[in-house]
Amino acid sequence: MSITAEKRAKAPHKVRQIGARTRAQRKEAIALVIPALLPIIIFSVIPLVSGVAIGFTDATLKRNAEISFNGVENYIDLAGNQRFWGSFGIGLVWSASVALLTLVCAMCLALLLNSNLRLKGLTRVLALIPWAMPPVVIAIVWRMIYNPNSGPLNGMLSWFGIPGVNWLGDFSTALPAVIVVGVWSGIPQTTVLLLAGMQAISAEQHEAAAVDGAGVFRRFWHVTLPALRPVIFAVTSLDFIWQFNSFGLIYVLTEGGPGGQTMIPPLFTYLEAFRNREIGAASAMGNVLVVAILIILSLYLINQFRQNKGVRA
């Protein structure tokens, strides 16, 4: 729960209304909002709308010829574009794996940090490292770690006489290798959120369960997990969407290679727009991604709505 929600719950009648009470107050509200609203409209809302529109044109960066609407032509082309749908599939595997594995790892880590172990302070600080590192640096470090000829991963394998692997260059290992990096960099946020959720669970609940004879695992299953369900659901679905939209990490790690094995849709779209310079077709791909995300989002909102109803009933 955020500070906001708590405050509102406590004193809903005390929230000041700058709303549409009087003309003066309305003017005041507009004056407060305008400075932020202008850049938002110019650099976010208008591009978003025109981005959708460009998806229905034949625009390119190659020529200065007139741009014309070509209806659904881009989408007909896209329907037959197997490389795009391939990247779509890879993107789903990538974001689902990263979101779920991050959740599992973060849950373990949050449980450890929430228990009475030593070294917690150190772990807490270390757990934030991936969060603080610039994505480009993360990609550079992991490229070094995965390097077949000088990376520590193959170095460690050689201790056991296991032959090295070209982790990012091999068809079968490239996608799992980037997924590991995605999980590594996603752990801090999810851990912090789960930990905050855990600390909101009252100690009495655990004690009551313990008195009833519930062991560590049963208490996790019957007390912690149900209480965390809304957090888990929100964090994982948002993480899924963020990963589906991610770009920098994979771009620097593999540029989508080898042979398109790690080509996720945003990367594919980027190459179409700024290397092939087909911005009409690329925007159409962007639109397809938006529709996919809206579907995911509506599932999330429906679930959210159901939960709220459940709480009230």
Binding site: I18, M133, P134, T269, N287
Partner: protein
């Protein structure tokens, strides 16, 4: 958790903790150690966390190389400008969002949520065309304007949380004393908001400092490259990359955000929580 644990559970938990410590910490440790290694050692399969010979020349050659110092200056300029402009623009609207009821607040909240989930690749194409048509593509000013817009959803959300935590009674009391809105904002709200503003500003700085994708699309001239773009251009074909200077440059690029995250870690938790869970 207060209940007793069986001994094997404790052992298991420490093993898990050790695993996470190694998994999460290793890349940074490896990077720092690589930045002090000789190229000979870097090109071998030896797994040494402590360099056999400390080689400080990587840092010197990273700084001499290409455009790393100008790139760092570009990043600094862009991040500071983004930070200042974003906070100045967000502050009034965050105040309105926190104290407002009804349609405008709902619209603002929906927009903040939507902007978190839309793929930036869709927005960057028209944005690129827009900036080109007003001759701001391939300029740092254009990049700053885009960063301001892209960081605003989060800063608005963080800041409105901080505003909401300020008791309305204080403002009402000032109003009774005859203060007008501007005075209330300056004398009552602003001082109480200061810690929140600092946290938000630092977060905005790090976001702009670390950002990669938008800079990659919007900047074409090497002399305008920000640090992430310059580092990425270090990576040539795998064989030609000089790993030592690359690692040194990567360490230097990480230091500012590592420091800020160290300072911020507690405050971020609250902001993140509001941003991600409340939605």
């Amino acid at each position: 958790m207060t209940a007793r644990r069986p001994w094997y559970a404790t052992v298991l938990m420490y093993a898990a903790l050790a695993f996470f410590l190694a998994f999460l910490g290793f890349p940074l440790v490896w990077l720092v150690s690589a930045s002090f290694k000789s190229s000979q050692e870097l090109n071998s399969l030896a797994v040494n966390l402590i360099p056999a010979q400390w080689d400080f020349s990587n840092y010197a050659s990273a700084l001499e190389r290409q455009n790393l110092i100008p790139a760092a200056m570009n990043s600094l300029l862009v991040a500071v400008a983004t930070m200042i402009i974003t906070v100045l623009l967000s502050m009034p609207m965050a105040y309105a969002l926190a104290r407002l009821q009804g349609r405008l607040r709902a619209a603002g909240t929906i927009w903040i949520l939507t902007s978190q989930v839309f793929p930036s690749i869709l927005i960057i194409i028209p944005l690129f065309l827009l900036l080109r048509s007003i001759s701001l593509n391939d300029t740092l000013l254009g990049l700053i304007l885009v960063y301001v817009t892209f960081t605003m959803p989060f800063t608005l959300w963080m800041l409105q949380g901080y505003v909401a935590a300020i008791p309305v009674e204080l403002e009402e009391a000032a109003e009774m004393d005859g203060a007008n809105r501007i005075t209330i904002l300056r004398r009552v709200v602003l001082p109480l908001l200061a810690p929140g503003l600092v946290a938000t500003a630092m977060f905005t700085f790090v976001s702009a400092w670390n950002e990669f994708f938008l800079a990659l699309v919007l900047l074409q001239s090497p002399e305008l490259y920000t640090l992430p773009i310059a580092l990425r251009s270090f990576l040539g074909a795998e064989g030609q990359t000089q790993l030592g200077p690359l690692a040194a440059g990567a360490v230097l690029a990480t230091i500012p955000s590592l420091i800020i995250f160290g300072i911020l870690q507690k405050k971020l938790t609250g902001g993140m929580l509001a941003g991600a869970v409340k939605g």
